[in-house]
Symmetry: C2
Subunit: 159 residues, 2 copies
């Protein structure tokens, strides 16, 4: 089981935007350049972040991306689910209803215990990520890092 | 992010063995037949379960697989990690040390906050699975299901 690299990239891009003044806009190139990311691959994830309502895309000559709401209201889960989707990592294929001792479908009204245990774990994972916000991460960075990020965002503001 | 189908198969095979009397042995074919699983694919997962110390393989004409310890001492996490490995689903590639504003390595003594948040969630997931056992699942099955499983295991005992 492995998460896409886009998770690390996307959380960090959101954290970068959260370090600028509210409403900070940055182009795809600016975001990619800050972390040395391949711009074409990052594009796909930025689209997902827009589609999920984490980022807002502005078009035109001053176009780019900004956080769609205050960073304190964007959870890490919001970003992770934008990239990975909301589907559970475990998918029950109802094997209890197959094979030589198959349980008849009418006796399978309740979800299989194994499925429930796996979903409980998935819930615990999401719950953990739901408790942390992009704003909290940005605020926790060292003053030097935040200063450098702010300077970079200001210098590269869409003209 | 998606778990291998082998997780559903492996947990269920362990639960099946747990329904027999202690020391119950079942062949690969018997395990696969119970749930209608492809025997060749299941073989790979049974090997992983043996390697991880969840199952014990017995060879010879009466060979097969049995639980390596009491079902109450085998957690769902033991089985899931046998199939999926123990590595976290999130891998930090230290992008903070790359790009135009790279943080120098000597300033990166502490793990990145994003990495820590992702590992906390991974820990929560494992913790949840560590709290549930194969024995508990087997005991929770309906009397009819357990009766049928026991009958099947007895009929198919390696000769
Ligand atoms: S039948 Fe799918 S998890 Fe049990
Ligand atoms: S640098 Fe990898 S998660 Fe932050």
């Amino acid at each position: 089981m492995k998460l896409s690299q886009g998770v690390e990239w996307s959380v960090h891009c959101a954290v970068l935007l959260a370090q600028g003044p509210p409403g900070t806009v940055a182009s795809r190139r600016t975001l990619a350049g800050f972390y040395g990311l391949p711009e074409a691959y990052l594009a796909k994830h930025l689209k997902s972040l827009v589609r999920s309502g984490v980022l807002h895309a502005t078009s035109g000559p001053r176009g780019g991306f900004r956080l769609a709401r205050p960073a304190a209201e964007i959870t890490v889960l919001d970003v992770v689910e934008a990239v990975e989707g909301e589907a559970s990592a475990f998918v029950c294929t109802e094997i209890r209803q197959r094979g030589v001792c198959a349980i008849p479908a009418e006796q399978c009204v309740r979800r299989c215990t194994v499925d429930r245990i796996m979903q409980d774990a998935d819930d615990a994972w999401r719950e953990s990520l739901r408790g942390r916000t992009i704003g909290e991460i940005a605020r926790g960075l060292s003053p030097e890092v935040r200063e450098r990020s702010r300077g970079y965002l200001a210098e590269n503001r869409p003209a």
